[in-house]
């Protein structure tokens, strides 16, 4: 029996994959199925799930309602669509900014002397040792009215005898964007670095021999060959940003509701797990659609595996 197993590679593979498969089945497939079932249910007055089949939760998400204030038969209120739209645009903006900031840094690290590279990568990773939420709180200390940034600018202004009003930075959309970009930057730097590092230097020499200047070399050689890293980084950044609400809660002062907040509220304050389940599924489907079109255009980014 053991002998046969030793020879049979495919059985070995199955056995090795078994724990993960069971894990995924119990913690991913079953909950997902439950979410689907609950999303077609109804809320009881006490906030329990009544199992039935109704599309009401999805209709409510779409904005159409028969429960109009002024007595019309149906009316349209794009509230939830706006929330979804806002989350999407925040995710797009964050991802775009992260790419713009991460690429030059990754390029710099990849081109550094191998001995320094370790050092630089180490520095990129150090912040990740600290808990995510604590790092966001640190930004609060920096951004608040009597925070570090305003104090330092105040000193300089005082020194130069310029009148100074402290900037209102904390609890603004800008603060949220800064926090998001900061949190997700390493997840873009690492995959881009990996794909840049793999580029064979003889390709640059060949480009130079053929008369390409440095801009042309970058556009025709470096950028296309590093695209898998950018794609992988985008997936690693975009998907979590879509569902995150901690950063916007802490740095944005909770004035803005993102789709993550909406879902969380349904399971806590509103005690409406049916609507929360429907919103979760829609979020997942939306993320899948965006990722699908993105990867169809740019490939799946093998760097996810490599990174």
């Amino acid at each position: 029996m053991l002998q046969r197993l030793r020879e049979n590679k495919s059985t070995q593979g199955t056995l090795l994959a078994l724990p993960t498969t069971v894990w995924l089945f119990i913690l991913l497939i079953i909950p997902l199925f439950l979410t689907l079932v609950i999303s077609f249910g109804k809320r009881s007055p006490d906030g329990n799930v009544i199992y039935t089949f109704t599309l009401n939760n999805y209709i409510r998400l779409s904005g159409y309602t028969t429960d109009c204030p002024d007595g019309q038969a149906t009316c349209f209120d794009p509230l939830y669509l706006q929330i979804l739209g806002r989350s999407l645009s925040l995710a797009f903006n964050t991802t775009a900014l992260v790419i713009i900031m991460a690429y030059p840094l990754a390029y710099f690290i990849a081109r550094a002397h191998p001995k320094q590279r370790n050092m630089f990568l180490f520095m990129v990773l150090i912040p990740l040792w600290t808990n995510f939420v604590i790092r966001v709180y640190a930004w609060m200390m920096l951004l608040r009215k009597e925070g570090a940034i305003n104090i330092i600018i105040g000193w300089i202004a005082n020194f130069l005898h310029i009148p100074f009003q402290p900037f209102e930075m904390l609890y603004t959309p800008g603060a949220v964007l800064v926090g998001m970009v900061y949190e997700f930057l390493p997840f873009m730097i690492l995959p881009i670095f990996t794909s840049l590092e793999k580029i064979d230097t003889s390709l640059y020499e060949a480009a130079a021999d053929l008369g390409a200047n440095s801009i042309k070399t970058f556009l025709r050689v470096t950028l296309p060959l590093s695209m898998p890293g950018v794609v992988a980084g985008t997936i690693l950044v975009f998907i979590p940003v879509m569902g995150t609400f901690i950063v916007s809660d802490i740095l944005g002062g909770r004035q803005v509701i993102l789709v993550g907040n909406l879902i969380q509220r349904q399971f806590l304050d509103a005690r409406d797990p049916t609507f929360g389940s429907a919103a979760s599924l829609i979020l997942m489907i939306m993320t899948l659609i965006v990722t699908y079109f993105y990867t169809r255009k740019f490939g799946f980014g093998e760097e996810i595996v490599a990174a």
């Binding site: 990568l121 608040r144 009215k145 909770r254 004035q255 806590l268």
Partner: protein, 383 residues
Amino acid sequence: MSKSNLFKMLALFVIASMALAACGNGAQATEPAADGPKVTSTGFECPAAEFPMEATSTELNIFVWTEYIPPDMIECFELVSGIKVNRDEYSSNEEMYAKVSAGGSNYDLVQPTDYIIALMARQSLLQELDHAKLPVMANFDPNYLDFEFDSGNKYTIPYQAGTDAIVVNTDAVETVPASWADLWNPEYAGRMVFLDDSRAVIGATLLTLGYDVNTTDPAQLEEAKNKLAELVPNVKLFDSDSPKTALIAGDVDLGITWTAEALIAQQENPAIQYVYPTEGAILWQDNWAMLTDAPHTDAAYAWLNYTMQGNIFWMMLRDFPYTNPNKAALDFAKENYADLYDAYMASPITNTPAEAVQNGHRISDVGDATPLYDDIWVEVKGQ
């Protein structure tokens, strides 16, 4: 950099962080209780149990609000009873309810606020208390017993009480608000912190309009939504975890907070005042309740009787000064810690004035209308 090097580095991080975590655990190990007087790690000498209870359990699982139980209280109970207390914490009633109603939580005692008690009882999550096993009930001021949310204290006994009202830095504003309606004053735009609590904020709006805080009338709620929509852009931040921080740091100058937050802010900056609005503040009370599937009821009764006795519960005045329903504790403080007692009695924040209580409103569960309130909240914030 080669991949194997990267892995080595990562492995090193993991080992280093595990070593650090191990150190943390080691430091927390408790020493075995010595004979003689039982003294906590802060040097507090624990009094004996006034109402000793038979308990065979060796553990007690409590699920409580964050920052709400004095460490000395837990340590003394452990030293005197020999029962180990396992504590988990939550920061909203909804969070507690979600965890407890999912079942299998294994908790003995929870600390629900008034409005969620009826709901928990209807869901059969709470067990009726055996008053014969609670001689400590005699310690409470009757004004804090037998409320509508739990008549006859069938399921709960009081812990602490408080209010949600207006807090204002009188040095920073031109006019000090006197009512909920005053919050709409354009002077306050961008200078307010509100609790991130839909029922409290919508409740204040309903009171401004002259409606009941627990209305389920869709027309009144629609009106409140439109009224609140005017105010929300003026709110700089919503924070239910620590609204005092922004107030003390000067990021905001006024807002809606609860008792202890206002008191701590005032201790930091005496210009910060607590205003009971003319339409009436929101009153609340936190309570102890025992879960239906509590595994250690004997330990739970021992805990309630011991921690609520006057010579233990006085320390709430020292550590978490809310409105204290425990008469025995106040009497004990009066005799032994006069300065604490005087400060408590003198402050209108902790010692809520009688007219503010009379004028106040209590939030209750609104059943089917709960999603309506939530929709208002999502809509006014999402605009």
